[in-house]
């Protein structure tokens, strides 16, 4: 008996299970993870089964989180998302998209899908997105006579979809964890000059599957609109067209085009390899700030518009001329270009400062300025993410100290059936964990443990597993888990904000078709990995 208890296999399983059980009590995840694994380590150390030197590396881990260049993208993306939300740009986007598509049958559903895919990306917390979308669009859809099941299903599905579509912070974090795992895998296979996996690769890899999923959601809704027209009626045309065409066009451009352009620009610059995620996140954050400044006081926004134009001119000049200033000789034309660029820079700075002042001067219903609120919200979300990462580092240090990585490796290698069984098993475990843990915890706990082992396996003889493909599979799998009744996360959150007239069974019924779509996506990804791996290799080379 004693021999059995002291085997690393038992200890690792005990650690995993006890931590999960302690997490369920509801004390904040970050501290439960850190505290429970630490206590476990101390108890094990008291019996001579654990070397405390392992967890003394924790401060070094914390420090590496503090100066990790990739992770800087997280607060910046969160800032972008919160700015769009608090300045009501996201709300208007949903509203106008509804107006645009509303007169088509099922149109509100399509706009929920599209907006969810675009805007949900920047928060990274499943709950927050579903709650926002549920509060904003569920009442409208119900008022317009949508079938409650259909409305709830599409909101849940679109709210979680944002996690899979770049630029989402979940993909940033997943990419960061996977790249470490990928390096370890290559080291243990004897490759000491490993290929790097960047967040850009993962963004590019997730784009096509994400868009396909949006497409399938919309196709499903179109089918419903044709077969059961009464479940998603159109808004009568005369109700939509309250304004004349010209002013309608203007609202469309300012509220629909601008945020879309921002997101496309951010995503485009990453995919084109022009900028790192951190850099485009900063561009996105500043862009969102300028848009928010214009949105809160359009009549006084001239300077902000000028700032935006200056930015465009600067970028244009950069493309046309060589502006490097630390050179010996510059032609007169180049000097002129440098001068114009500098003038534009001044205009841009003025524009940004005006935007900050405008946002600072805007007050919400309670009479508080929204700029501090945006910053505090960003601080809270990013702190939440990183402190969980710290807690998970403690867990993985303890796990490693108990020889957990060797245990996992030997267990996975001894499974019958090769890669497919291993992958199915891990996907199943992640799927089940998805019922109780959020995206972040699963990524931080599971990927460091199984990633290095999985990435050493071959999908087909001679073909190593692609980390991009694995990341996309994990993301889609987790998203499915969050949708699956009766435990899926997003269903709970929607239940919390849905009016009491909606029965829980209606939500479950509505979401099942979307779960089926997700599952078929996983199958398709297994048989056609190119769906995920083609774009990154096409852009960045193999």
């Amino acid at each position: 008996m004693i021999e059995f208890i002291t085997t690393p296999e038992f200890l690792c399983a005990a650690l995993f299970v006890s931590v999960i059980i302690l997490l369920l009590f509801g004390f904040p995840v970050a501290f439960s993870l850190a505290g429970a694994s630490m206590l476990f380590a101390f108890i094990a150390a008291a019996f001579g089964l654990f070397d405390l030197a392992y967890i003394s590396a924790l401060p070094q881990r914390i420090f590496s989180i503090m100066r990790n260049e990739v992770l800087v993208a997280v607060p910046l993306f969160v800032f972008m998302g919160v700015t769009l939300e608090k300045s009501k740009i996201a709300e208007e986007l949903l509203d106008n998209m509804g107006k645009l598509f509303g007169s088509i049958r099922g149109g509100l559903g399509y706009s929920v899908c599209i907006v969810g895919a675009l805007l949900a990306a920047s928060t990274g917390i499943v709950g927050a997105t579903v709650v926002t979308m549920g509060l904003l669009s569920l009442p409208t859809m119900l008022r317009r006579g949508y079938n409650p099941s259909l409305a709830c299903g599409s909101i849940c599905a679109s709210g979680t979809l944002g996690q899979v579509i770049p630029p989402s912070i979940v993909l940033v974090l997943l990419g960061d964890q996977l790249s470490t795992a990928f390096q370890q895998a290559q080291f243990s296979m004897g490759n000491f000059s490993p290929d790097a996996l960047s967040v850009n690769d993962l963004f590019a890899g997730a784009l096509i599957p994400g868009l396909v999923l949006v497409g399938m959601y919309i196709i499903y809704q179109i089918i419903i609109a044709i077969t059961r027209p009464e479940s998603c009626p159109a808004i009568p045309r005369d109700e939509v067209r309250t304004e004349d065409g010209k002013s309608m066009l203007r609202t469309m451009v300012s509220t629909l085009f601008a945020p879309l352009a921002l997101i496309v620009a951010v995503l485009g610059s990453i995919l084109a390899g022009l900028a790192s995620p951190t850099e485009s996140a900063a561009m996105g954050g500043t862009g969102a700030l300028m848009m928010a400044g214009y949105r809160v006081a359009p009549r006084r926004g001239r300077l902000i518009v000028i700032g935006g134009i200056c930015l465009a001119i600067m970028l244009l000049i950069t493309v046309l001329f060589d502006l490097r200033m630390q050179r010996e000789t510059l032609t007169t034309l180049e000097w002129a270009a440098v001068f114009v660029a500098l003038v534009c820079a001044v205009g841009l700075v003025l524009g940004i400062f005006t935007a900050i002042l405008r946002v600072y001067g805007t007050r919400d219903q309670k009479g508080e300025s929204i700029l501090p609120q945006i910053m505090q919200q960003t601080l809270i979300v990013s702190t939440m993410v990183f402190v969980i990462l710290i807690g998970a580092s403690m867990f993985s240090l303890v796990f490693r100290g108990l020889n957990g990585d060797e245990v996992v490796e030997s267990v996975l290698h001894n499974l019958p059936g090769g890669t497919l069984t291993v992958l199915l098993l891990i996907m199943l475990v992640m799927f089940l964990l998805g019922f109780i843990l959020d995206f972040l915890e699963i990524i931080f706990i599971v990927v460091p443990i199984v990633g290095p082992v999985l990435l050493q396996m071959e999908v087909a003889p001679g073909v190593p597993m692609s980390p991009v493909w694995l990341g996309v599979m994990m993301a889609v799998n987790l998203q499915t888990s969050f949708l699956t009744p009766p435990f899926g996360f997003s269903l709970f959150y929607l239940r919390g904000v849905a009016p009491s007239t909606i029965q829980t069974m209606q939500i479950y019924k509505g979401v099942i078709p979307f779960v089926l779509i997700q599952l078929s996506m996983l199958v398709v990804l297994w048989f056609f990995p190119a769906l995920a791996t083609w774009l990154p290799s096409a852009i960045y080379g193999p």
């Binding site: 369920l24 509801g26 004390f27 995840v29 501290f31 401060p59 200033m325 979300v381 403690m394």
Partner: protein, 246 residues
């Protein structure tokens, strides 16, 4: 007067120990006082009052209320401290975004890069969440697995928070402080700077933030524990009604 600096330096090694002892004493004192007060009151009151719940006794309730209000103000002072720090730290978000924006523009438009500016962004990033940890706890921003927690009664929630903060949070912070101490001390000893010669040479200050992180979380953890105790010992509705009748 001769001060042995080396001796002083070595005596600093004992600081984490002092820190943990202080924290333990604070927590113990709070908990012990709470269970001691009713006992003291019991010895001072008449036998028939002992039989009744001490909440129902007017004097006892009064002195309890005085004691509770002291604790309440201690908890809100601690939280206020973290709130002030969090609100200041939140400005880093804006500065960080703008600084990164400037770096991008300078790099892509003027092909000019500054390592110091780049490193200052890392510093702000690190400071942001290390200083914000306590504030986030105060604002209930750290996610919980609320499958059970959401449905639980207020009293159960208070128990979870009390046990969680004293069993998970505080020991974690203390151990982290202890481990980080040698890291930070070594870093100070050599005035550790950037790996780049032209970078910001303040890594030793940056590393110190790990200690600050622990302290801020301990402060907020104690505040959370006190608030849970207050909730657990809150006079029940019935005893309040009895008081009103008397």
């Amino acid at each position: 007067m001769n001060i042995d600096f080396i001796e002083l330096w070595h005596s600093l090694e004992r600081l984490p120990l002092l820190f943990s002892i202080t924290v333990y004493l604070l927590v113990l004192a709070t908990v012990a006082a709470f269970f001691a007060i009713p006992v003291v009151l019991m010895f001072r009151s008449e036998p028939h009052q002992i039989i009744r719940s001490f909440h129902a006794d007017r004097d006892a309730a009064k002195s309890m209320e005085g004691y509770r209000s002291v604790l309440r103000s201690v908890a809100s002072c601690l939280t206020l401290f973290n709130t002030v720090i969090g609100r200041f730290a939140a400005w880093l978000v804006l500065f960080m975004t703008l600084m990164q924006f400037v770096v991008v523009i300078m790099r892509y438009v003027f092909a000019y890069g500054s390592i110091q500016m780049q490193e200052s962004i890392w510093y702000m990033h690190g400071l942001l969440f290390m200083l914000g940890a306590g504030y986030t706890l105060a604002k209930e921003g750290h996610v919980r697995l609320d499958v059970f927690y959401r449905e639980a009664k207020e009293r159960t929630k208070a128990w979870i928070n009390l046990v969680g903060s004293s069993v998970f949070l505080l020991p974690f912070c203390i151990v982290n402080f202890d481990f980080a101490w040698s890291l930070v001390r070594n870093s100070w000893a050599v005035r550790e700077g950037s790996t780049e010669t032209v970078g910001l040479q303040y890594i030793y200050l940056f590393k110190t933030v790990i200690l600050v992180f622990s302290v801020l979380l301990v402060i907020e953890g104690i505040s959370l524990a006190i608030r849970s105790i207050l909730q657990l010992t809150a006079p029940s509705d019935e005893s309040l009604r009895q008081q009103a009748q008397e």
